[in-house]
Subunit: 404 residues, 2 copies
């Protein structure tokens, strides 16, 4: 008789955003007259920029003609896209990353979930707390996390690095030595980040203790402060200890277009085994490339017209972030993030739990946010609002919150 | 110090098609005057059908307008596509599969590689030999296959079911009881298949011994004989033992468009654990949906215009198959497949090994095929040609082979 992967049974409840969707659906059904404003899931609302739309139409037409039709893509991505990424996201910033160190994928969520596969089953992971749930959940599925304690919301074999107002949301080096360190910076959900100097300390630490850093830079495009690194490879020594994950979802609105990439430097090794070769093998065996049409869309992100249009799009969302942050502050909320990231992280008032505040906001203001506790135990008592709505909805949501 | 997944180190050499690509590149460089005809990798050459192109343009335009823009897709696929699949591929054939038992993905290769994740580490797999390499390789990476014997090309903990001319390419029930049985029917690489009655015996066997069948139906659209099942769910009892993987690559030319789906019936359980729930959790955690534009392309496959255009496309490739098969037979080759699948499987002449025949064909005829031994030990002494070239190239390749 076949057996299942028992690790799946350890996962408590269902995925955060599914739960939110169910709660919102139930509320909508019970209150058909209410207009709900969603500032919950980090999904974008602005349409795809014209330069990217043009590139996709052109690529669709190429697929219609035998002379220009493209079948299987190179497993690791088309050269035109890998080169555009290397030139714009790395070389232009002084990072020595080559096109063949870049692996194009169908999105950073897939890469975030799959990257742990190339590591040993006994590795111990460290995560910021709170953080994007995929890092822990994908390691639960792989059996690396020990047992779950429902009372604390913690896994026995995960090293948690609390990021709260007490430490200004800067993770501290853990007491126990981790093998794999997940860093999402600017952080989802807190919207906070650390300076380049602080990141350099993490790189030095990882190299010293022999840990690998899995660096999720999905929100990099929102960085506005000068002393924040746009890539971990701006730090000296990062190529021997860090893998970087990047997404096109937030800088170009590709949440429904699906494109991402992962950088695995050739210098990154375990003994004499190259992690670059391992990830290439994983791609070659379990993945068949991102769609040609979508890779052309990715290329257009780096065109002059694309860059100019996306700069405006990001400014649009960051105007929302400012609106939320200042609006909440005026109302007396304690608020973080929103400067280098499109997320606003607020302390719930009156000692409400995160889910209590979720229900309160949904029922009283008909505004959907995300409970901080869904991102880890140290997220309890916090709440996330995103700047990805339309400006009109963002303003309307703030008016409702102010009126509470 | 972090450790790697040591199972990766067990994988011998590199992936079959990468090796072929390297050999062909080396030959091309050494012989720039020769025109190579590729009947090797199973990649299509005909452009995407007009009905599908129209659907993609329309979807691209929707992404350009905030009113019709789509962000994150439902994890498991858009309802419009899941319903089209359920109606056309299942209900129309009398199979009782619901839309919510269908999981849309970025392609059957991803699903083929990932599906093993939801099963226990100690499960024993059985595979047809020869077969598509991803089934074994993805299980090697997960540590299920034991050790590799380079002399035999076999893994100590894999049950091989030889499919050769001696048994008319019909797999026999193995002596040892497997937990997971991979069946690719019509088979890649042999192009052969089994009757619905024979498939029913496999379903009965799996239900009896408590095995799960992972049924890869990627070539279903090429079935021409009446007594062959188009889905395993045409067999009684399949919903309690079988997962079906389907691709849009071969029926609609989506090798570079990327779309596939997996059916996990709700009745399929291990004890009281639903595999449907497990696969949903896997999708929700490590995947973020196929692109909206591509899902609309998939929907168009099932439109009246799309169906008519794809029927012609398949007829085009099957004319190639007939050309190759009859041409080789006239030349005295022993040939199989090509009736219910776009693959021709030939016995190498003069006791040549598969790779010897590969080199011979590349050097003497400048035709690229795929060595049978690359698909498993029982593929040794066989060779695969595909019908996916243009008709002109197919005819030209046959003329060259006849002239040898």
């Amino acid at each position: 008789m076949f057996q299942i992967n028992d690790n799946y049974q350890k996962l408590p409840g269902s995925y955060l955003f599914s739960t939110i969707a169910k709660k919102v659906a139930a509320f909508s059904e019970a209150n058909p007259d209410k207009t709900i404003i969603r500032l919950g899931i980090g999904d974008v609302t602005q349409p795809i920029a014209p330069a990217i739309i043009d590139a996709m139409h052109k690529a669709v037409d190429e697929m219609a003609d035998a002379k220009t039709f493209r079948g299987y893509a190179p497993d690791l991505g088309y050269e035109f896209l890998r080169k555009a990424i290397a030139d714009n996201d790395y070389k232009a910033r002084g990072c020595d990353i080559e096109a063949d160190e870049i692996f194009v994928s169908d999105g950073a969520k897939s890469d975030s979930g799959n990257i742990q596969e190339i590591f040993g089953a006994d590795n111990r992971i460290a995560v910021c707390d709170p953080v994007y749930p995929v890092y822990v959940d994908s390691n639960v599925m792989a059996g690396r996390t020990g047992t779950y304690d429902a009372a604390t919301g913690m896994w026995s074999n995960v090293i948690y690095m609390p990021c709260t107002r007490e430490n200004n949301f800067v993770p501290e080096f853990p007491k126990e030595t981790p093998d794999m360190i997940y860093l999402c910076l600017p952080n989802n959900p807190t919207g906070t980040t650390i300076t380049k100097a602080q990141l350099q300390e993490w790189v030095d630490y990882a190299n010293k203790v022999g840990a690998v850093i899995i660096y999720d830079g999905a929100y990099e495009a929102y960085i506005s402060e000068d002393d924040v690194a746009h890539s971990i490879y701006e730090c000296e020594g990062a190529k021997t200890c860090a893998i970087e994950l990047k997404s096109f979802s937030k800088n170009a609105g590709f949440t429904g277009v699906r494109l991402g990439y992962t950088v695995v430097p050739k210098e990154l090794k375990c003994g004499d085994v190259s992690l670059h070769s391992m990830w290439a093998r994983r791609h070659g065996t379990k993945f068949n490339g991102a769609p040609y049409i979508i890779q052309r869309a990715g290329e257009a992100v780096y065109s002059e017209a694309g860059k100019a249009q996306l700069k405006e799009q990001i400014a649009y969302y960051m105007k929302n972030a400012k609106t939320i942050k200042s609006g909440l502050q005026e109302t007396g909320f304690e608020v973080y993030g929103g400067v280098n990231a499109p997320y606003i992280w607020l302390k719930t008032p009156d000692s409400m739990t995160s889910w209590e505040f979720f229900d309160y906001l949904l029922e009283k203001a008909n505004v959907v946010g995300t409970p901080g506790s869904g991102f880890g135990p140290s997220g309890e008592g916090y709440f996330r609002l995103t700047a990805f709505g339309s400006y009109e909805n963002t303003v309307a949501a703030l008016e409702r919150i102010k009126a509470l």
